[in-house]
Symmetry: C2
Subunit: 410 residues, 2 copies
């Protein structure tokens, strides 16, 4: 079944909000064998919504639309759908009473403009919303099922998970697999994998570069592919070829891998961050259960904090500078000692836009890992742009920790 | 002029990558008066690309397409455009030689699969790429200009900024304005602004809730609106009504406001983070020039780090728990003292998924600001979901600092 996603909202087409709903929905549909072939965004404009519905109807088996079901007057999606399907609205007093009660239980008087959320199109089936006040709706044309959901991610996800996905049935064909890599460029990766990939003609491949590394997407040529298991075989062959360059699959993150490895080993982690400014700690604490492993991080943006909290020697600072291999090694060992961790991980660098010199340009970064097997460090020349530089340095530091843990385990 | 954005890539429609290019392009076109009315994404599939081109051609004045110009074999956008415009490809030896040289200057032999990037459609104009190897292209149909750019954000932005935007001319009509708020819910905001907004019938409005607060988007009913300055007047009226609830406009961030205010005051900042786990520091260090203000952050995930690095008293920890008003106040004062900052800002809370109790459920958070005028703190009940909880707590902590600075200045 071919599917499309239609996201609705001025904030999306004007670019003030990045559309994350479409990606989430596409990912949720993949495991049940429904492939999204197109996503469309239009504004809160009845004519634009009607035009989009016309261009998707009959061409798609399933259209999932989000956005424009909220209580404020910019939310006009429901009336556009009613026009397209020639449906009247009915006021659902039972639902309205339950809304009034829900607000009251939080000590809030329901605003009058929430009334529109209790108006239900007579030609639609209602999809209950367990976490919010906007109901989901299902309309059907002769060839296409249209599902209309609120744009608030939490509510969209609840209705998708509880109502929509269970009604859509089981998956068919091979699962898509992403092999995630760190430390190798896209073109080098493609050359290195050329002969491996030639052995899997039924498997399609895409290389997806991000600041944190290049991901390799693998999927079957057709959804009912003749040789089930081919995608899995291709992923394994790639992982064998790449060794430690491949760190995981699908939604794997190096932060999660490191938290799980240290939890299993009963070890702890201390961080010392200069140029990444808290991002390494934030990536680690994004992982549920991080508190078992992470003691803390000293974000040492000023030189005084590097010396006083981390014990970096004033002589090293003077002779080599805060951005140097010597200092990053002292920072890692200092975090380990000051916070009492099995491992210490440190970053220092010049993220820009200012602070660069001819010898130490913007983009330079040093990372270090101090652990049971001693201290290792690495010099890197990364994108000379502040946010990508922070992101790439943070990822490389966690990856160096991952490689050091792997080395101990071999 | 009506414009559309077409983003191309399996990674986009399958949801493995969130499409940030479309938002950036729409934002870049707004100030020159070009309004994006639709965005479409399709996969790396020649038929899907051709279908999308057909549905956009003639309906739009401008189509900006990105993606699928890289060196790997999943990049088939250029050949699909050549089919649509019935154009042959020509190998550009001058460009190829410059690519070979560029790679050599970095000490790298150019991979053979980069050759396709020197193949130029004879019916297109070339748009040079100052930061990468994939050229931009401009095709024209009788009613529509198609611009084709690489999908790598850095390269897309360079060609847009250096080539595309200068060729598209000046802006017309009122600028769009976003008024950003923190600390008030969408429906309460809409009710509070009802009468203010009624005085500006030519101005359209949208309320855009995010974890960090609700943004109010304002734009003119039509691009050549009759009363220039109406959008600005509406924004000012809203800001007057909301007072300190409105913290800035457009791309303003509380992190940037705080960094600029402290820079102007010659004051410094020290952070102590528990549940936000480095995110407050990372938001502050995202701001260029943060090093003038931020001394550092102690990410105190373990209780020992709270006591040893921040001087939180063991008695307070025992009697009130790590997630308490007493402890967050001691953390803020402790960061201020330990790192020597004018201001200390602290967070503690239960982000989940585990760690909640009936008395202290997941979602609870405390924030505190210690400053020249004493220490203030706040208890909050936020979304009981890990990443939104981190984001909302971090934003609220920086907002409390903003309000304290404002209070001193009054």
């Amino acid at each position: 079944m071919k599917a499309a996603i239609l996201t609705i909202g001025e904030e999306l087409i004007s670019g003030f909000t990045v559309d994350t709903n479409a990606a989430w929905i596409a990912q949720a549909l993949l495991p049940i064998g429904i492939r999204v072939v197109e996503t469309v965004s239009v504004g809160d404009d009845p004519e634009a919504i009607l035009g989009a519905l016309e261009r998707l109807d009959n061409r798609m088996g399933l259209v999932i639309a989000t956005g424009g079901l909220g209580p404020t007057h910019d939310d006009i999606t429901k009336s556009a759908f009613c026009r397209y399907f020639d449906s009247a609205l009915e006021f659902d007093t039972v639902y309205w009473d339950s809304l009034v009660e829900r607000f009251a239980s939080r000590g809030v008087v329901i605003p009058e403009n929430n009334r529109s959320q209790a108006e239900v199109p007579v030609k639609a089936e209602v999809l209950p919303n367990s976490v919010g006040s906007a109901l989901g709706l299902r309309f059907r044309s002769p060839q296409t099922t249209f599902i209309l959901l609120p744009g608030v991610p939490l509510e969209m996800k609840a209705i998708m998970t509880e109502e929509v996905l269970p009604s859509l049935g089981k998956r068919t064909g091979d699962k898509w697999i992403t092999v995630r890599t760190s430390g190798i460029f896209e073109s080098a990766l493609a050359e290195r994998l050329e002969s491996v990939l030639a052995s899997f003609p039924e498997v399609k491949v895409a290389f997806l570069p991000e600041y944190s590394g290049v991901n390799i997407r693998l999927w079957p040529e057709s959804s009912g592919n003749k040789e089930p298991g081919e995608v899995e075989s291709a992923a394994r062959a790639i992982e064998t070829e790449l060794g430690a360059l491949a760190y995981g699959r699908d939604q794997a993150s190096i932060g999660k891998i490191v938290v799980e490895a240290l939890t299993a080993r009963g070890e702890t982690l201390a961080l010392a961050e200069s140029c990444t400014g808290g991002l390494v700690a934030s990536l680690v604490t994004d992982v549920p259960g991080a508190s078992k492993v992470l003691l803390g991080s000293v974000v040492a943006y000023s030189n005084a904090v590097k010396e006083q909290q981390l014990g970096v020697s004033p002589e090293s600072m003077r002779d080599f500078g805060a951005v140097s291999d010597v200092v990053v090694r002292e920072m890692a060992a200092g975090a380990q000692a000051a916070l009492g961790g099995t491992w210490g991980v440190a970053t220092t660098g010049i993220s820009g836009p200012t602070g660069g010199t001819p010898k130490k340009p913007v983009g330079l970064a040093y990372i270090a890992v101090a652990g049971p097997g001693g201290t290792v460090s690495k010099e890197m020349h990364l994108a000379p742009i502040r946010l990508p530089h922070k992101a790439a340095t943070a990822q490389a530091a966690l990856n160096l920790l991952r490689l050091e843990i792997l080395r101990l385990e071999q």
